[in-house]
Symmetry: C2
Subunit: 215 residues, 2 copies
């Protein structure tokens, strides 16, 4: 059975994965880019943009686990676009013509629409489905490879609650956002189901990995 | 000017410093002792109990900063005793005849009572005062030494909000409590006032230190 994996999912010290006030020019609300600066500094990120440079240390090693072995992604409607995108029939996601997924991507949306084939191997499919149903579809599309769960926080919470996540990499950034959407709400005793490791790196972030005990 | 310091203040991954359901036999509610096991394993803790043994590594090094240079402590009513203690005129705190403070201790209580002199140098004083007023009293009693802010979470939050904390050591334990009292609520942008370091240790906890930039 292929794994369900979460990667590079960044939160503040107070647990917010998204700030308040999300908008087209502020996909993370008042958090801005502060949750992801650690990643922008890595070689992984530089090379994903087609360039060179970036740090090659522990932050890079964690970040680079994002791609290998992934055959499909599942994401929430809030990651696909800003509030209101479902009213625009021509909206094609927040990433331009060649999105950085290069696999089928299943977008959980209450109002499904026809699939959209993008450049570079990404095809967006739209599903109004439970986590288990969406995972079944994504696993079929992944051809034996793993399924990445791309967020946002409420989607990850829903999959965790149903015990569907095998590997989760959370990056805790030393800022306090105070408001937004929390990752951790309603996940009491999650540690019973996971082996948890914590590693702080010189950039100041702490990488938390959750490995399912049932794996 | 002497410093105000917080030490060994333990929280869950989801930010709770106290679980739900505090009671005389469960001072941390459903959290039990799980937030403090990292500390019980240290030489600091063993020696505080008059014994020997315990780990001498990073967890001990952090934990042992608790005592030196402290001339007084301020704590909230919820740390002094379980809900209802203010109805018992003979209540003398949760630590027995020789409490582990050995300094004046100022207990923030809405219903002040006469001071209580205990064995070993601890004297409990009871104040209905603002953070700044309580700190003024504690500084006078500390004789030029630092003041420890002992918690609980809402007291620490109140002092942080007023910019009165110079050094804070928070220990993040890899469990999810789901409910209780959070440390971080309402502290947006706290990082603007502090240099923050994170260090994970082999026991699995992550030590976060906050050093006031104004210090």
């Amino acid at each position: 059975m292929s794994d369900v994996r979460v990667h590079n999912f960044s939160i503040s010290l107070d647990g917010f994965a998204t700030g308040a006030g999300q908008a087209p020019d502020a996909p993370f609300g008042h958090a801005g880019e502060r949750l992801h600066e650690w990643m922008f500094a890595t070689r992984f990120w530089h090379e994903m943009g087609g360039g060179r440079g970036g740090s090659g240390g522990a932050d890079h090693a964690f970040a680079a686990m994002h791609g290998p072995g992934i055959g499909a992604e599942i994401m929430g409607a809030g990651k696909f676009g800003p509030p209101g995108w479902q009213d625009d029939p021509d909206y094609k996601g927040a990433w331009g013509a060649n999105p950085p997924f290069h696999t089928p991507v299943f977008v959980l949306a209450h109002r499904p629409r026809p699939s959209i084939e993008m450049e570079g191997g990404t095809t967006f499919h739209f599903l109004d489905a439970s986590p288990a149903e969406a995972l079944k579809r994504a696993r079929e599309a992944a051809g034996g490879q793993d399924v990445r769960l791309g967020g946002g926080p409420s989607v990850i919470r829903d999959f965790l609650t149903e015990g569907l996540v095998d590997h989760m990499h959370v990056v805790q950034v030393p800022i306090l956002l105070g408001r937004g959407v929390r990752l951790w709400d309603g996940l009491e005793s999650l540690e019973d189901a996971y082996n948890i490791e914590a590693v702080s790196t010189p950039s100041g972030v702490t990488h938390l990995t959750f490995t399912a005990k049932s794996r």
